[in-house]
């Protein structure tokens, strides 16, 4: 009798094992497809570059022009990172440790510039000072634009430092600067590095600001090569140089993160009781913030609004409305594709650590440093061979999805990692199969974080310029391209209404992302903890 029982259960158990394997292979397959899609741009560039003889590639790489552009790009990135890290860490520390009036609200002027794309910001300054141009102007613009990333990332890090540790350090005789250097800094340097990484990648892939200011970086060179219908293979080679450059930056960040203590469960501490109450410090923090807000928020808004009102009669309202709607639609479409593409990987990573999940995540994370111009170049060349897809808004939305897939996956996997394993185990012992566990437990807990991540992808896609310029169907305009084409020929008044609308739409999610009313974790913190 025992044997028959055993045989029956053996059959049942084998069937179960087979079902589980089937589910797993479907998921693995989906993840594999997504990883393959994410590799399209790099794959295209490699194939395209390899069509060029080695001699010509070498010649292209060592010609003075290439070296000069590479030097300019490096100098720009280094300068921007230095400025933003020094100012950003100082401001974040001030906001976190110093007793200030309305502390929570003071963070708004610090993050609001996130809503203003660099090209809009540049154009408002050129409209104000026509001679505004050159390398230092670019350092200024890009530093101001990216400073919020460093401030938010650092703040997120500082919130995880237990105030009691600082009190212990002080009681052991350390001064405030010593405490910061020996206790606080080692714990937040991973976060600072994450903020600096975002600033560096922004600078590398920026097209609008640098070209308005006549600074030629690698991104500008690629765009120019493409627009001049110059040899596409040459553009591909320079794109690979740009990718190599981004990779170096990403690796530098990973190195810093490896050295910093591994964050297990992140707790958020309140500093209410240990704020520094020194008059000169309060004065310094508030003055710096005020200057920053004036330069980064007040001046652009002043220019936009005054330009807007100076020729209200000439505004084409219909065109403005049409452009706004198509911008929102195509950006939302892109964000949804990104969400759909990152879901199988999310489910896989939420279930258990798997090798394919790990590799897919790595492949997609590399895409984090992929500039828009590179993805644009790859998709425009592939798309032109696909016929039906070429010159469609779908291809544009797909480009957005590929560009921001890393963002989407990062927010998804960090939201999912907040669901404790024990909770999933319990649901499973209570009779839920893998899918039910995902639907009833994992998804509801992770949904707010994933939603916020999707909004951020939407916001970024809405502001995207270089890939949009390459991939938009003829006659299709987004707010970004309208601003760009008007500003590029100094028609500042015409650009103003588009810029104003773009900034206003972007301000809403920016506010949601930073949530100054909540001291809880922000998306930037999630980004700072993004997968290694």
């Amino acid at each position: 009798m025992t044997t028959t029982v055993t045989d029956n259960t053996r059959t049942a158990l084998t069937k179960d094992a087979r079902n589980q394997r089937a589910i797993r292979s479907v998921l693995n397959g989906a993840v594999g497809i997504v990883a393959a899609l994410a590799l399209i741009p790099i794959g295209y560039l490699l194939v395209r570059s390899s069509q060029k003889p080695v001699g010509e590639i070498a010649q292209l790489l060592v010609r003075p022009k290439t070296l000069e552009v590479l030097a300019t790009t490096s100098a720009l990135v280094l300068s921007v990172v230095t400025v933003t890290v020094v100012l950003g860490v100082a401001l974040a520390s001030g906001l976190h440790f110093v007793k200030l009036p309305m502390r929570r609200l003071l963070i708004i002027p610090a993050v609001l510039p996130l809503a203003i794309p660099s090209y809009v910001f540049t154009y408002t300054w050129i409209a104000l000072i026509p001679e505004f141009s050159g390398f230092f102007a670019a350092v200024f613009i890009l530093s101001v634009t990216t400073l919020p990333y460093v401030i938010l990332a650092t703040l997120a890090g500082l919130r995880t430092v237990d105030g009691a540790q600082i009190e212990v350090a002080r009681s052991l005789g350390l001064s405030i600067p010593q405490t910061f250097r020996r206790v606080v800094f080692p714990q937040v340097k991973g976060h600072i590095s994450a903020g600096a990484l975002l600033a560096a990648l922004y600078t590398i892939s920026d097209f609008g600001a640098v070209s308005l200011l006549n600074v030629e970086t690698l991104t500008v060179t690629i765009q120019n090569m493409y627009r001049a219908s110059y040899d596409r293979s040459a553009a591909a080679v320079i794109s690979l140089v740009l990718i190599a450059f981004s990779t170096v930056v990403v690796l530098a960040d990973e190195r810093v993160k490896r050295q910093s203590p591994a964050g297990g469960d992140v707790k958020v501490y309140s500093t209410k009781n240990s704020l520094i109450n020194k008059v000169w410090m309060r004065f310094a923090v508030i003055t710096t913030l005020a200057i920053f807000a004036f330069v980064a928020v007040v001046i652009p808004f002043f220019v936009l609004i005054s330009r807007f009102f100076s020729n209200r009669v000439a505004i084409e309202w219909g065109e403005l409305a049409r452009t706004s709607i198509s911008t929102i639609l195509v950006a939302a479409f892109g964000a949804i594709i990104a969400l759909v593409l990152s879901t199988p990987l999310g489910i896989l990573l939420a279930g258990s650590k798997t090798r394919i999940g790990h590799y897919a995540q790595r492949v997609i994370t590399i895409g984090h440093g992929l500039p828009g111009v590179v993805v644009g170049l790859a998709l425009v060349s592939i798309g032109s061979k696909l016929g039906a897809l070429y010159q469609t808004t779908f291809l544009l939305a797909f480009a957005y999805a590929l560009l921001f897939l890393a963002k989407s996956v990062a927010s998804m996997s960090s939201s999912l990692s907040r669901v404790p394993n024990s909770v999933k185990d319990v649901a499973s012992t209570l009779g839920m199969n893998q899918w039910q566990v995902f639907k009833k437990v994992v998804a509801p807990i992770a949904a707010p974080g994933i939603g916020l991540g999707t909004i951020l992808v939407f916001l970024t896609a809405m502001k995207e310029l270089p890939a949009t310029l390459m991939l938009r169907p003829t006659g299709f305009d987004t707010l970004a391209t309208q601003i760009w084409s008007a500003a590029a020929i100094n028609r500042f008044n015409e650009a103003a209404p588009y810029a104003l609308i773009l900034v206003l739409i972007a301000a809403v999610p920016t506010f949601l992302v930073s949530r100054p009313d909540k001291s809880d974790r922000t998306f930037i913190q999630e980004t700072a903890r993004s997968p290694k």
């Binding site: 029982v5 055993t6 259960t9 053996r10 049942a12 158990l13 084998t14 179960d16 094992a17 589980q20 404790p420 024990s422 909770v423 185990d425 319990v426 649901a427 499973s428 012992t429 209570l430 009779g431 839920m432 199969n433 039910q436 566990v437 009833k440 437990v441 509801p444 807990i445």
Partner: protein
């Protein structure tokens, strides 16, 4: 028939063998305590029983149902057991009532039936009126109660508790433990309680199983494992123990600190284990088998741990209060209890 039967179970995580040829069984309605230091494989064993880990070898049976045969595993959601992990793991997005009703299949139970079971469970854990609270609004003890109710609501044949009380402070811990054990007994539920607290294991369980390095080294009733340990290791693992050098003599007697009068030759060397409460001290030095000096008194109120120095040999003795011994006093020390001799392992 046994309600749970594990035989020759091997579990490997990474490259490490966590459970090593482990066998264990439990009858219907019995409560077992798995006792051992952290890292000995207690949680892994529990998770294997729950179907959350794939063993590499061995079988697990629930009654006459085979649920695990080598690497073929019935998935955990088909095992119908109650699992309470460390710190409860309540679903943070659901309120108390929704947490408790989580495992009740809506295609089997009507809405009213689910509401009724939830109410019964709330009565059972004495949290009436807490239906709409979120887990974050509960204290640690309340969270543990809800986690238990959630596990019991599906009327599981087997309940697995993984250090459910470890996050609580001492007093609450003892109270809640008593409540939980009473609850399990009232429902005649078979249960396994993982703990590293010796007292908790002895107080709660019908069967205490001692784990070391992926194996169960001794199991039995609490009285049995406490009073007749099979090795020095299990003696220390189940309670405070004094370990004294000793020797087995040719006449069968044991020579040690309190019995040095034996004559004849030593047959083998070893150690004996004495429980602190088996030692008595008094002031009548004339009948002394040994005389010691009181070096230290740790006073706990209901009793005290007194450290006595007997010519260089230091002993800890448990004395019920009240008493009037003072530091530095010379006292007579007696041993009144079984002589548990364990021969030293012979080194080859």
């Amino acid at each position: 028939m046994s309600s749970l039967e594990i035989s020759h179970l091997n579990v490997t995580l990474g490259k490490k063998l966590i459970l090593n040829d482990l066998s264990f069984s439990l009858a219907q309605g019995q409560i077992a305590a798995l006792l051992g230091p952290s890292g000995c494989g207690k949680t892994t064993l529990l998770r294997s029983i729950a179907g959350l880990i794939q063993p590499s070898h061995g079988t697990v049976r629930f009654g006459n149902q085979l649920v695990s045969l080598s690497s073929l595993v019935l998935p955990s959601h088909k095992r119908k057991l109650g699992y309470v992990p460390q710190e409860g793991a309540l679903f943070p997005h659901l309120n108390v009532a929704e947490n408790i009703a989580f495992g009740l299949d809506r295609s089997i139970f009507t809405k009213d039936k689910i509401r009724q079971i939830t109410k019964e469970m709330l009565d059972l854990i004495e949290l009436q009126g807490f239906e709409n609270r979120m887990p974050s609004q509960l204290s640690g003890g309340q969270q543990t109660r809800v986690a238990l109710a959630r596990a019991l609501a599906i009327k599981p044949a087997l309940v697995l508790l993984d250090e459910p009380f470890s996050a609580l402070d001492a007093e609450l811990r003892a109270d809640l433990r008593t409540d939980v054990i009473d609850l399990l007994r009232a429902q005649n539920t078979t249960a396994i309680l993982v703990t590293h607290d010796r007292e908790e294991a002895l107080v709660s369980a019908d069967i205490v199983a001692l784990m070391r390095e992926g194996k169960i080294i001794q199991q039995g009733t609490p009285e049995a494992v406490y009073s007749t340990p099979i090795s020095l290791e299990t003696a220390i693992g189940t309670g405070d123990a004094l370990v004294l050098a000793a020797a087995k003599m040719a006449d069968g007697s044991t020579s040690y600190l309190f019995n040095s009068t034996t004559t004849g030759s030593e047959v083998e060397k070893g150690h004996i284990v004495i429980r602190p409460e088996e030692i008595k001290i008094d002031r009548d030095l004339s009948t002394a088998t040994a005389v010691g000096l009181i070096e230290k008194i740790d006073y706990y109120g209901h009793d005290a741990m007194v450290s006595v120095d007997i010519s260089g040999q230091k002993l800890k003795v448990r004395i019920p209060g009240p008493f009037d011994f003072v530091l530095g006093e010379r006292v007579s020390v007696h041993h009144a209890g079984p002589v548990r001799f364990f021969a030293d392992e012979i080194k080859m």
